[in-house]
C-alpha cells in the first residue's frame, strides 16, 4: 500500500519532468536530423513557463475548463496505472480524457479546430482496438488485468506477445500524433489544417494541453514498459532502454515521413492490429491453456 502511494505521487511529480525532457530530446534530435542546432534541452520547460504567464486569449471561454478536465483525467489515468489497478479500466478513463480534448477543440466552432477534432476521433477509432488487444494480451499471459500482476511476472511478457508489442508500437505513433499519422494536428501552423486540434488553444490553455501530452506520453511509454518488466530489477533497466529506443524510432519515423490520408491510416492501423495483435492473441489462446506468468 505504501509503495503504491509513493509510486503514484512519484508519477504525478516526475511525469511532467520526464515528459518535458523527452520533448526536449525530441526537438534536439529532430533538429540534428534536419541539420539544425536545435533549442536547448530544457526549452520545453521555458516554453511552458512562458505560456502560463501570458494573457489568456480564447475563442470560447468554456475551452479552459474542458482542457483542465482533460489534464486531470489524464493524471488520474496515470495514477491508476501506478497504483497497479485494472489496466483496462485505465484505458477506459484514458478514453474519457481523450473525449474532453475533443470537446475542447470542437466547442469553439472554429473551422480548423473542428476539423482537427473530427480527425482526432478517427485517430481514436484507429488505435483503440490495438490498445484493447494489448490489455487482452497481458491478461492472457499473466492471468490478470491488474497492473501489479502484469509488471512483476516470472518472465517478460514480450516473449509471448511479440505481435502485440509491434502493434502497440505502431499505434503509439498515432497516439502521439507523429508523422505520418499527425492527422489531427500538424507540426507547423502553415499547413492545410493550420494546427488542427490545437489551433484555438493559446496561453494557459496550450500550457494545459502540453502538460497533458507529457503526462500522456509517460503513461503510454509506461504501458510499453509492461511488456519488458519482470521480477528481476535488471528488466526495469532493460525497459528504460527499450523505451528510449522506441522513442528514438518514433522521432526517426516522424522526421522521414509525410502525413497520409486518414482513411489510409484507419485501414493500415486496423490491418496491423488484426494481423499482428489478433493472430498473436489467437495463437496464445490456442496454444497455451493456462499461462500464469
Amino acid at each position: 500500500m505504501k509503495t503504491k502511494i509513493i509510486s503514484v505521487i512519484a508519477y504525478i511529480i516526475l511525469a511532467p519532468i520526464i515528459g518535458g525532457l523527452l520533448d526536449g530530446i525530441d526537438r534536439k534530435i529532430s533538429a540534428r536530423m534536419q541539420r539544425r542546432v536545435g533549442p536547448p534541452l530544457l526549452q520545453p520547460f521555458y516554453d511552458l513557463g512562458k505560456l502560463f504567464n501570458k494573457q489568456v486569449i480564447v475563442v470560447r471561454s468554456s475551452q479552459s475548463f474542458l482542457l483542465l478536465c482533460y489534464l486531470i483525467f489524464m493524471i488520474i489515468t496515470g495514477a491508476m496505472l501506478y497504483a497497479g489497478v485494472d489496466l483496462l479500466m485505465c484505458m477506459f478513463v484514458l478514453s474519457t480524457a481523450a473525449m474532453f480534448l475533443y470537446f475542447a477543440a470542437c466547442v469553439t466552432s472554429s473551422p480548423y479546430s473542428t476539423i482537427g477534432a473530427s480527425r482526432e476521433l478517427i485517430q481514436i477509432m484507429a488505435y483503440e482496438p490495438a490498445v484493447l488487444l494489448t490489455c487482452v494480451g497481458f491478461y492472457l499471459v499473466s492471468g490478470s488485468f491488474e497492473v501489479s500482476d502484469i509488471a512483476f511476472g516470472k518472465f517478460s511478457d514480450i516473449i509471448y506477445l511479440p505481435g502485440v508489442f509491434l502493434a502497440y508500437i505502431f499505434i503509439l505513433t498515432i497516439k502521439m500524433r507523429k508523422s505520418p499519422f499527425d492527422i489531427s494536428t500538424s507540426h507547423h501552423p502553415n499547413q492545410e489544417i493550420v494546427k488542427g486540434i490545437t489551433s484555438e488553444m493559446g496561453a494557459r490553455n496550450l500550457a494545459f494541453f502540453t502538460l497533458t501530452e507529457w503526462y500522456e506520453n509517460v503513461f503510454l511509454l509506461s504501458v510499453l514498459a509492461l511488456f519488458i518488466t519482470n521480477r528481476s530489477p535488471v528488466s526495469f533497466l532493460a525497459a528504460v532502454i527499450v523505451i528510449l529506443v522506441v522513442y528514438f524510432l518514433e522521432i526517426l519515423i516522424d522526421n522521414c515521413s509525410a502525413r497520409i490520408k486518414y482513411f489510409d491510416m484507419v485501414k493500415l492501423a486496423w490491418a496491423v492490429t488484426v494481423v499482428l495483435a489478433g493472430s498473436n492473441i489467437w495463437i496464445l489462446m490456442l496454444v497455451k491453456q493456462n499461462i500464469v506468468n
Binding site: 483525467f73 483496462l88 477506459f92 473542428t114 488484426v274 489462446m285
Partner: protein
C-alpha cells in the same frame, strides 16, 4: 395456494385500459386514463415486488388449472389470425397471411397433444429474470406512455395530414405493455407463443399508425419478419411437445441444457425466432423501418418491449445454448451484427437512424453474450439490457422532443443545441454518455463482455467487440461534439416540451444516474443471484472492488468538470475571433469567400456515407448473416437426423 392477484392484474389491466382508451375521444379524459393506467401498472409491479420479497426471493409457480383462460387464449389467437389475414388482404399482401395461419394451426394441434399427466404445468413462473423484465417494462414503459400523452397532441398539431387517432395509439401502447408482461411471466409454451404473436401484431399496428404508403410498407415488412420468427417458434413448440409430451418452458430449457436430442432443434428454432424479434441481421431492416411511426412507439420498441423480448428469450435459453452449435450460431450472428451495425451507425446523420442502428448493434452484443451461454457473459448481457433500456428510451424521447422544437432530427441541425435548448441538450448528453462513456453502465458491461469473450477463448467474438466498440465510440462522440459546439447562427427556436414529456425525461435521467451509482449493489443483490438461479453458479465478471472503484470514478466524472468550471471562471480571459486565415467577417459566423462576399461558416461531421452507408453494406451483410444461419441450421439438422 398462492394466488397473487397482481399478476393477472398486470397482464389484463393494460388490455382493459386499452379497451377503455379505444372508445375515449375526449382529450382530457384520454390523458387522465393514460396517467392512471401507467401509475397503476407501476404500483402493481411494486406490489409484485413486495410479495416476491416476502416470499424470500424464491421462484414462484402459479396457476396450474387454467382451462377457461386457455380457451380464451385460443379464441384470441384465432381473432389475431383473422385480423392479420383481413389486413393482408386489404393491403394486397396476401402471402403474408400464410405466416399467421400456418403457425396458428400448428399451435392448435400442439394443444391437442396429450400432455404427460404426471406433470403439472404451471402457467406462470416468477424468478429473478422475470422480475427484472417486469421492472424494466413497468418503469420504462409507463414513463413512455406518460410522455406519449403530451407528445401525441403536439405531433398532431404539426402533422395535419395524419388523422388523429391518438386514443388508438395510446391503447396500442397499453396492449403492448400487457403482452410483454404476459410474455415474460408465462411458463407455458402455448401462452408464450400467444403473447409473442401479440407483440408482433402490436408493433405492426404501431408502425402503420400514420397509414402513409411508407408506413404501410414498413409495417408489413415488420410483420412478415416477426411472423416468420413466430412460425419458427410454433414449429419448435410443436416438435418439442410432440416428442417430449410437455408444454412447460422450464422443462424445455432444462432438457435443452442437458442436450436432449428432441430439444436441440426446438432450442435452435426458438433462438432463431428471438433473432427476428431483436432485429439481428439479416432481419434488421424492420427496426429501421419502424421509425416512420411517432417517436413514443420507437422508444417503446427499442427500449422496454419488442426487441427486449428477443433478448429475454435468449437469456432464458442461454443455459441450453452453452457450448453447442446453436450457441455458436447465435453468438456469431450477434457479434457480426454488433460490428457491422456500428459501422452503419457511423454513416447516419438522422438522429433516429443513429439510435436505431445503435440499438441493432447493442442488441447484437447482448445476443452474442447470451449465445456464448456462460454465467459471465449472461452477467454482461443482463447489464447491457438494463442500461440500454433506460438510456435508449431517454434518447428516443429526447430526440422526439427536440424534433418538435427544431422541426428536424438531423444531427447536423443539432449543432449547438446546448445553447438554444439547454435542458433537452443536457438530457441528450446524459443519455449518450450512458451509452459509451467510461464509467457509465454500458461501457462497463461491454468491458465485462470483452473479458468474458477472452475467458471463453472466443477470438471471433473478441475481435468483433474490440473493433465494434471503436466504431461505437466514434458515432456517439461525433454526436456529443455537435451538441456542445457553438451555434452557427443565433437560433430562434423555442423549447416547446410539455410538462409531462419533461417529467418523463427527468425521471429517465434520474434512473440512469441512479443505476450507474447503484451498479455494484444491483449486481450483488440481484443479477448475481439470478445467475445462480439459472446456471447454479455465480458469474460476476468484475470483482466487487472494481465496481466500487468505478463508482468513485463516476463521482469524479461529475465533480471534476464542476470544479474546473468554478476554477476557470476566475481566469481573466480575452475573447478573440477564431482563426480563419485572416478572412473573418467580424464575427465567428461568417468568412469572406473568393468573390469577396460574406459566406456563412458551416461545420459538419464526417459520415463516410458512400463507403459504409446502409445502402452500401446492408445487403452484403444480410447475405453473410443469412449464410451463417443457413449453414448452422444445416449442421443442426444433420446432427439430429
Amino acid at each position: 395456494m398462492l394466488v397473487m392477484p397482481e399478476i393477472p392484474f398486470l397482464i389484463c389491466f393494460p388490455f382493459l385500459t386499452a379497451l377503455l382508451l379505444f372508445f375515449t375521444k375526449n382529450d382530457k379524459l384520454k390523458a387522465l386514463i393514460s396517467y392512471l393506467g401507467a401509475i397503476l401498472v407501476i404500483c402493481a409491479a411494486g406490489i409484485l415486488w413486495f410479495d416476491w420479497l416476502k416470499g424470500g426471493y424464491e421462484p414462484i409457480f402459479l396457476y396450474q388449472n387454467t382451462e377457461i383462460v386457455d380457451h380464451i387464449i385460443f379464441v384470441a389467437e384465432i381473432v389475431i389470425m383473422v385480423l392479420i389475414t383481413f389486413l393482408c388482404f386489404k393491403y394486397k399482401k396476401r402471402i403474408i397471411c400464410l405466416l399467421s395461419i400456418i403457425p396458428t394451426i400448428i399451435i392448435a394441434f400442439a394443444e391437442q397433444i396429450n400432455i404427460n399427466p404426471t406433470e403439472k404445468l404451471e402457467h406462470i413462473y416468477i424468478d429473478r429474470l422475470a422480475m427484472l423484465m417486469c421492472t424494466i417494462i413497468s418503469l420504462v414503459g409507463s414513463l413512455i406512455i406518460i410522455y406519449a400523452v403530451g407528445y401525441m397532441s403536439g405531433y398532431h398539431m404539426h402533422h395535419k395530414e395524419v388523422k388523429d387517432r391518438s386514443n388508438y395509439f395510446l391503447a396500442l401502447l397499453f396492449v403492448f405493455m400487457g403482452s410483454m408482461f404476459g410474455f415474460v411471466l408465462s411458463s407455458s409454451l402455448i401462452w408464450l407463443y400467444f403473447f409473442w404473436e401479440c407483440t408482433s401484431v402490436c408493433s405492426f399496428l404501431l408502425i402503420g399508425y400514420t397509414r402513409s404508403e411508407e408506413a404501410v410498407t414498413n409495417s408489413f415488412r415488420a410483420l412478415w419478419m416477426n411472423l416468420l420468427g413466430g412460425t419458427a417458434l410454433a414449429i419448435g413448440i410443436f416438435y418439442f411437445a410432440f416428442f417430449e409430451r410437455t408444454l412447460s418452458f422450464r422443462s424445455f430449457i432444462a432438457l435443452g441444457a442437458l442436450g436432449d436430442v428432441y430439444a436441440i432443434l426446438p432450442v435452435a428454432l426458438m433462438a432463431f425466432a428471438a433473432l427476428t424479434k431483436s432485429a439481428q441481421l439479416p432481419f434488421s431492416t424492420w427496426l429501421l423501418g419502424a421509425m416512420v411511426a411517432p417517436t413514443p412507439s420507437s422508444a417503446l420498441l427499442h427500449s422496454a418491449t419488442m426487441v427486449k423480448a428477443g433478448i429475454y428469450v435468449l437469456l432464458r435459453l442461454s443455459p441450453a445454448m452453452s457450448g453447442n452449435i446453436t450457441g455458436m450460431m447465435i453468438s456469431l450472428v450477434g457479434g457480426f451484427t454488433f460490428f457491422v451495425a456500428s459501422f452503419m451507425a457511423v454513416a447516419q446523420s438522422d438522429a433516429k437512424r443513429v439510435l436505431a442502428m445503435s440499438t441493432v448493434s447493442n442488441l447484437g452484443l447482448m445476443v452474442a453474450c447470451a449465445g456464448v451461454g456462460r454465467p459471465e457473459t449472461v452477467w454482461a448481457g443482463a447489464f447491457l439490457m438494463i442500461f440500454h433500456a433506460v438510456s435508449k428510451s431517454l434518447l428516443f424521447l429526447d430526440v422526439g422532443a427536440t424534433e418538435n422544437s427544431i422541426h428536424s432530427r438531423d444531427i447536423e441541425d443539432m449543432h449547438g443545441i446546448l445553447f438554444f435548448l439547454p435542458l433537452l441538450a443536457m438530457f441528450m448528453f446524459i443519455g449518450i454518455a450512458g451509452m459509451f462513456l467510461a464509467p457509465f453502465g454500458m461501457l462497463i458491461s461491454k468491458w465485462a463482455a470483452l473479458r468474458a469473450a477472452v475467458d471463453e477463448k472466443n477470438i471471433i467474438l473478441l475481435m468483433f467487440i474490440v473493433f465494434g466498440s471503436a466504431t461505437t465510440s466514434l458515432y456517439w462522440s461525433k454526436w456529443m461534439g455537435k451538441i456542445i459546439s457553438h451555434p452557427h447562427a443565433p437560433a430562434e427556436f423555442k423549447d416547446i416540451t410539455r410538462p409531462n414529456e419533461f417529467v418523463s425525461l427527468v425521471l429517465h435521467a434520474v434512473m440512469m444516474i441512479a443505476l450507474c451509482v447503484l451498479f455494484p449493489f444491483v449486481s450483488k443483490v440481484f443479477v448475481d443471484p439470478m445467475l445462480v438461479e439459472m446456471f447454479g453458479m455465480s458469474g460476476q465478471v468484475l470483482s466487487q472492488g472494481v465496481l466500487y472503484i468505478l463508482v468513485v470514478i463516476i463521482c469524479f466524472v461529475f465533480t471534476i468538470p464542476l470544479l474546473s468550471i468554478f476554477y476557470s471562471h476566475k481566469i481573466q480571459t480575452n475573447r478573440k475571433l477564431s482563426y480563419m486565415g485572416g478572412i473573418n467577417e467580424g464575427d465567428n459566423c461568417f468568412f469572406t469567400d473568393s468573390m469577396g462576399e460574406p459566406k456563412r461558416l458551416w461545420l459538419s461531421n464526417y459520415y463516410f456515407a458512400n463507403k459504409i452507408g446502409i445502402r452500401k453494406i446492408m445487403m452484403p451483410c444480410q447475405f453473410v448473416s443469412a449464410g451463417i444461419l443457413l449453414g448452422m441450421f444445416c449442421i443442426i439438422l444433420g446432427a439430429i437426423l
